[in-house]
């Protein structure tokens, strides 16, 4: 697609439920990133993929969070047994490839706003 697509754009869920957030990167982009932005806060790195591999999962807040990417394209971020502190905007970004490169400009999606009641 022309840009990074994320769905759902808004999700309201009850505490304890599982949620899945989807990211469809720009076609041809091999790297995909997930960030979290809590209300009024900066962007917190969660995980990135190069192809289907996740070299760096260091930002995942707990074992309730997981992510996968299949076919080098769509990625799903899953949060199990959601807690109120998980409420945030989850941003996905993609780039041609990961790592240090002058061509590595991340393009961001519009985000998925998660509200845990």
């Amino acid at each position: 697609g022309a840009g990074v697509s994320q769905s759902p754009s808004n999700k309201v869920t009850e505490k304890g439920k599982d949620v899945e957030l989807r990211c469809d990167p720009i076609s041809g982009h091999t790297a995909l990133y997930w960030y979290r932005q809590s209300l009024g806060q900066g962007l917190e790195f969660l995980i990135y993929f190069q192809g289907n591999s996740a070299p760096d999962k260091s930002g995942l807040p707990s074992d309730r969070f997981s992510a996968e990417r299949t076919g080098g394209s769509v990625s799903t971020l899953t949060i199990q047994r959601t807690q109120q502190e998980d409420s945030a905007v989850y941003l996905c970004a993609s780039s041609l490839f990961a790592g240090r490169s002058g061509a590595n400009v991340l393009t961001f999606g519009a985000g998925s706003r998660l509200t845990v009641l």
């Binding site: 900066g42 941003l91 970004a93 240090r100 002058g102 590595n104 400009v105 961001f108």
Partner: protein
């Protein structure tokens, strides 16, 4: 360790004033990239500029200019003659293996 600090949480100016947003970074790497992104009220992050660690030349793009100084590990962003449409949150970021963001500076430009 990789870290980006934006000490200014919020800045308010009146239209046509110049404003500088500060960014200080930390890294042990010799090769890295620095970025500025803008997040308007709509929420979507917009790429503004990228600078690599080997290029300390300042850059000007219209009313925007960037001052990169390795000696002070700073990559400051100046908006000249600010406009109401410049109101947004501005993020500085550093790329080594992953892109790490500062906490952002909220700029409000009043008419």
């Amino acid at each position: 360790a990789q870290k980006v600090t934006q000490a200014q949480t919020e800045i308010s100016v009146v239209e046509k004033e110049d404003v500088t947003l500060d960014c200080v970074y930390e890294t042990r790497d010799t090769t890295y990239y620095l970025f500025w992104y803008k997040q308007p009220p709509s929420g979507e992050l917009v790429f503004l500029i990228r600078r690599n660690s080997f290029d300390e030349q300042n850059e000007i793009s219209g009313r925007y200019s960037w001052n990169f100084q390795k000696s002070t590990s700073s990559f400051n962003f100046t908006i000249t003659a600010s406009q109401v449409v410049d109101s947004a949150v501005y993020f500085c970021a550093q790329l080594t293996d992953k892109l790490i963001f500062g906490t952002g500076t909220r700029l409000q430009v009043f008419p």
